[in-house]
Subunit: 502 residues, 4 copies
């Protein structure tokens, strides 16, 4: 397929690029791991996010909430609470070393503080309300106070979200809306009493009964007079998965349906005059919502993300990809390096194609001149930055050629970075290797080599109109930079002579 | 062009792979530099040579040979010699850190010990005989003794070559053969007297009057009863360069002529019964012999090296590429990162295509089954290793397809690494950027990204005959590994489903 | 106190220095952590052990043993077992990167394979026999086979120990000896059937009813015809602790009583002709056996270790300090960096005084000339190596001066490294800082600076008898090297003039 | 000797701490070296300077100024100039990586641009005026323009100094004042014409006829209407050296005489109304002015520096220690690691005692309450920072005890870092080792260990008056921090019990 796109000097399009505001992570206890750290280090070095959000701050492996008997040998002696911040410090130190701040999620419930036994995931996060809201609020305050003491004033700027997906019974006992609102209010008031600079929001729901939950949540806040700082929700865009062994196969939905759904949230909030324009953070998004869906490892996922990243800022303040890496245990420990995990990076520090969707969009600064379903064009001081993609789901195999006509005169250098099924497809290489579960050093090294964009370049001369043609193979994602560039050969250097006559 | 090559189980070809025995370097004083170290570190990490050889051990910047007056204020007081090994230690420590041992070249002459004023190169190496052979021999012995003390017993294994290219008047005053033989004999005897374990050789000539020099040298050694340990010579394969500004443009010679020339050296030596079979080390080789010939940076150079590396071991013990990196000052300091320097690595630690010729050949272990002008095939325990190339000099543009039919049954994985003008061509990217002399961080980073092989893969099933087809673009160099490999999918994992139905 | 020790040329003493054979670690799952890795890296860089041994290979956090239903939605469908080696690979890769091989401990029981609910420790290791010995043996074999596949032939040399301290009811249900012998026999036979090169031993007991257990174990092995490869036991040398809050305070026992206890094990084994001389590995030793005894962080511990390390090789093949670092969770997550943990290294990568006991003994090569309760003297090619200590328990405060008279002539350099309460005492600095639970960067940096030996030196001239005087403050541990050394001043350099006249 | 010093709440003293503004370095070409980089990296990591200044920007090894013939084969064809910034970029990139900006010194003369043959130093810097001032100005402008292009706007803030020590005939042909003023004026005007934001100063003189030079220079600038941005001079404080072999032995002068000399420069400048208060940069200072004076390596040098660093800011804007490291070739390549070089760091990356004078003063923030010949006391938010020293020249051996009485109440922690002859004296260790010229790895490692301050600590309680006693051995330099600090023991932790009863 070929498309011609002509862009004029004063063309402008809406594009709120918040690609680097936040990224998701598995539970906080995993942040102690070395492989986790190395994956995150790679992500931060090559992309660079500002915040990180995940579950499990209060889960027992983080060991924050502790109880003890005054007389350990007498089970009837009074019981006291103490807090242990040893592991929290290790995690926060790692994050800060990597230039990250937490987007705090309050949850789940420490076992000893829980009112029930219900847990979620392989790692058994307790998802019941606290047995004492007073003790819960003490825990929240103590933790935030400790963060302020450890990290300084910047801790007041860490956004704080109350719980995760309370609209699902697995994540919140019976998905009890009233009980969640109580949790929210108690937490909100306790935090604001500690210091009004903290920013607090909710309800962190996913797309199940979402309109009802958002409406009721906003009404509740209004009726209670809670001046919340932001609203949060999640966004996944695949159909129900079909399961087979360790895996679930889920088909992609049309992006547009998702964008409409997000718009309804925006509209509901804006319908409350007190909350009009309140920031919405999408604190989780991805294609599939299961950590064992092979789509996450594909070039299709990367191409699809191109369109997502061009649109998710339309009505939202931020959107946090779930997750940066594949150290993740919700369905247990994965058996193989490529297992359809949520991560941008596979275990072994192998970037997946999707990694580059974030890397490319991170570079899209300047002013947006044009945006459509296949491409986005930015104007910069030195020229243009372009990202385009060719989404081919369900076995579709089309080639897409974009001819961009841009204002410009003089000489330009065009440099393209291409991620597609033939040049940056570590999943295919791993498959062709036989799908080994344990990688040898040389296999690992090859997979990393195969997980890099192909760089192309050319020189283009223009006289008023600059014509650039980009051809995208199946599920390609292409980033291109056009820069004004004179040829400045050194004395006696002649590239043509060097490459065609010797 | 298409070629079919059928290889049978018991086919064998001669291939002495000494690709990693030695690599060349600019003068030793440059080994103190940080950028030099970083380029060498890259080379050692990705390729890994055993020895390193270059000029300038005794040049004044290494500061080994020192003279002083007994009374510094009285120019008539006796003059004494002292040795300073501070810089030599720094250089040797760097080499040893990187797993390298020196291939020692004795030269050039310290200014204070020289009999004349003649120098060579921008860095003014003195190329005249010593004013005192006794003092020269003391210097040689002191230096070797120091190396033994510092590096231990392994220092006895460092090969020692006397001087460099004495058959050129620029490198040795008047190219005086008799004087060189004197230098050789004095040095040889002094070293062997110190410890007979040292290995000493010469005459380190290039291809000018080489037959005469080799004959005379062998005759001289025989008549003097010198049991030399090896013979050395150099090998360059371009025609005379045409100069323009900072550059020289030199056309490639046919490889075959060069191989014949090398054979004559072998034959002359073997004609001396005492020296029959004596090892020949090619202590320098490259295409062009000037450090400002743009060919060194091209894909053509890499493809041409493919053939060279498959043949240079035929009659020689080793062959040392001149040089590993572009920190090099013989014609002055280069003005731009790509300037036709000898290096496998351009300044900025950018691998040139040629870098991969060495990396690929380093991996060619196993038994050689087949070798021709375009390809070499090795049999390994797990399958096959193949290297092939498509040399297109003087603007030629042909595509080459090799169909290899190999013995084999069952499932195989094929992984290819391709270096060609479209996928691993940093020179072109730099040109398209406008040929900047100073690289910004982002330009440097892009150039490094563009200097990597493209990885491809597939699975092949065979029933007795394994058919592999490799297509090589202009000046391509391809390395391929075929390994026996069963598909071992994890429970429920289906690659086809993942990549064609979601 | 002053002591003179005169040593003659031919004096010799028994000293089997196995200080670096093995070191202990908390459960294997913790080896995934970054802080664990960094502590271990420090230990390996500065000391360098060969093996590492700890609990928890089969605990659920390592995720090796997995069960699943054929039809996940039908709880009555057949249940199958599968193995997951993802985390085991990560751990083994870390170990191998750091030059370590595992000393494998088989245990504890995966929850799904256990016959009961009894667990031990904060991290809930299941300590009941398998519900199926056949399934247990399959697990053991699969794990070992995987290690061979991943690590190569060297895996056959990893020593394998069956379970841990089965003589304690907490570690093995009811401390049931007969059941342990069954576990041992089944495991032993399964492993030897897999490959007879594997080395297998037990019973890994601690010092409770140890004579009885060793006797019975040897008898059992004899009667069953098990050609075991080694015997293992543990060795702790404090009295019962008194508890207070998070801590236990335990007084040191006299070393000698411990050495006698170890001798009884040796004697029992040697009383079995079939097993005479069989190697005994002390797979755990330390002063206190609880991970919250403040003694571990003191200089007293280091000085006491001096004597231990000089003696533990007398009748044993090796002795593995429990543990290298303080990432350890048996009693929960520690609240402060110094908490009396077992480690040689405190959290934050701060070496404790004990760290240097190992570093110093690691350097004690050569021939042992002399050994007593305070000192050990080795003869080397270049001179002497000495380690001495001044154990001051229970508030004792004595100074010890050792005057060593050694054979020697000529000039020597003496270099001493001193670890004592005034110069290498990070615990005291931390206390003086106010005992902070969270360390700032500058506090951490100071603590590391304060955790280094003080280096002293002098030149000694001797004429037949070399006299060295070493003064040890309270709980000092001193390492000294005497080397033949001529003064080789550079031309014109005069140290006395430089330091006393300017 | 004992001294009591009582300090009251409102006591204040003058102390302009500019310790980190600038540091000196050998010639710029040496900045290409790896060992140079590693020494500078250590200095920047532990101390952290803002600028770096040294000679040799325009020396031939930097290769900036190049001439060529239009027709290389015709020596009569026109000659052109071209500039090569390859090495300058490498140096600047290193500096920027390490957080440093240049304090630019314009000099010396490229050989091809020089009017004469006079050179200085082993490395032969040409010290004659340009043969063409126009060409010189072109060179200066081209270099500065390149720096702006490469480093951005920050390049306008690099201070620029014209030449070095023109008042010495060795550094400037005949020490011709008039010619220097011409050089200054031409350079000044050329730079300001390029961009008036550049800051330019001179005359960079040392203490020979300094009053005359400063007076004449200011008069010249006034009469020419040059609005110079700052004045520069040097400051060395030893008497004439006595030479012996490679070394010179120079006795220290009294500091006070030096401070008075500096005051005269200040007074002369301030006597010009147009230039009153103009910043004076001491662009070089040290004790001895020769790079082979053993005093630089001693503890005496460090203690003496204590007093210098407390006073040099009194009338000067900055003071740049000559030099950071011992890669330095003015008198040739040193023969041994300790050779009396200027550096804070000896070759092998061994910090000398003087290194810590800078590290300690770098930490002296807060308000100065007290300063005398032995000590300086700063008040900070958390307590106090103190630096004190005990200068013992010419073999003197006195102990100094300072009793400081400071305002304060409550509990404090005192942490001291001591650098003295017994605890941080790598020179002595090296001497005791026999003064080896080549260091083995273990010798090097020991020397680094012996080059660290001894850390001490205690807790002090105060009730209105805080009493701190610091005892300084021979040539000690001590840094102390007093901080408010409550003891916060963990539940059950009792340090006394742990260290006196077990």
């Amino acid at each position: 397929m070929e498309r011609s796109i002509k862009i004029s000097e004063n063309d402008r399009a809406v594009f709120n690029n918040r690609v680097d505001f936040c990224v998701g992570t598995g539970r906080m206890g995993l942040a102690l791991q070395k492989e986790y750290y190395e994956q995150l280090k790679l992500v931060q070095k090559e992309i660079g996010f500002k915040h990180i959000r995940g579950h499990g701050l209060f889960c027992d492996d983080m060991a924050i909430y502790q109880e003890y008997r005054e007389d350990p040998r007498n089970p009837d002696s009074p019981c006291h609470v103490e807090y242990n911040f040893t592991y929290l410090d290790l995690v926060m130190d790692s994050y800060r070393e990597l230039g990250l701040r937490p987007f705090i999620e309050l949850g789940f419930m420490p076992k000893r503080l829980a009112s029930g036994e219900q847990t979620i995931f392989y790692w058994k996060g307790n998802t019941t309300p606290p047995k004492s809201y007073e003790e819960w609020c003490r825990l929240v305050r103590a933790t935030l106070s400790h963060l302020v003491q450890r990290c300084g004033e910047e801790a007041y700027e860490y956004p704080i979200e109350v719980w995760n997906e309370p609209n699902l019974p697995g994540f919140w006992y019976r998905a009890d809306m009233k009980e969640y609102f109580k949790l929210f209010k108690e937490s909100f008031l306790a935090i604001k009493a500690l210091d009004s600079r903290f920013k607090v929001g909710g309800p962190a729901i996913c797309g199940v009964r979402d309109e009802e939950w958002i409406s009721e949540f906003m009404s509740f806040c209004r009726s209670e007079g809670l001046k919340i700082d932001f609203v949060t929700r999640h966004h996944y865009t695949t159909e129900l998965p079909e399961h087979s062994g360790h895996y679930g196969y889920a088909k992609l939905m049309e992006s547009e349906a998702g964008f409409e759904n997000l718009k309804t949230t925006r509209d509901i909030i804006d319908s409350f005059p007190e909350y009009r324009g309140l920031p919405i953070h999408i604190t989780e998004f991805n294609t599939s919502y299961i950590p064992n869906c092979p789509i996450h490892d594909t070039n299709l996922n990367a191409a699809y993300l191109g369109r997502q990243l061009s649109r998710l800022g339309d009505v939202n303040e931020s959107y946090s990809y779930w997750t940066f890496g594949d150290i993740f245990e919700e369905q247990g420990v994965p058996f193989t390096p490529f297992h359809g995990g949520f991560g941008m990076v596979a275990n072994g520090c192998i970037p997946k194609p999707t990694f580059y969707a974030f890397k490319f969009f991170k570079q899209l600064d300047g002013e947006c001149m044009y945006k459509d379903d296949d491409a986005i064009v930015m104007k910069t001081e030195e020229g243009y930055k372009i990202c385009c993609w060719n989404i081919c789901p369900k076995g579709e195999n089309k080639e897409l050629t974009l001819r961009l006509l841009l204002p410009g005169s003089g000489e330009y250098s065009l440099v393209t970075s291409t991620v597609d099924e033939s040049c940056c497809n570590p999943l295919k290489l791993w498959h062709d290797m036989g799908e080994p579960s344990s990688l040898s050093d040389s296999e690992l090294s090859l997979l990393r080599e195969a997980a890099r964009p192909l760089i192309g370049s050319s020189r283009i001369a223009a006289d008023g109109e600059l014509s650039v043609s980009l051809t995208l193979g199946r599920n390609a994602l292409v980033y291109a930079e056009l820069k004004k560039s004179s040829l400045t050969p050194d004395r006696g250097y002649d590239y043509e002579r060097a490459t065609t006559t010797l």
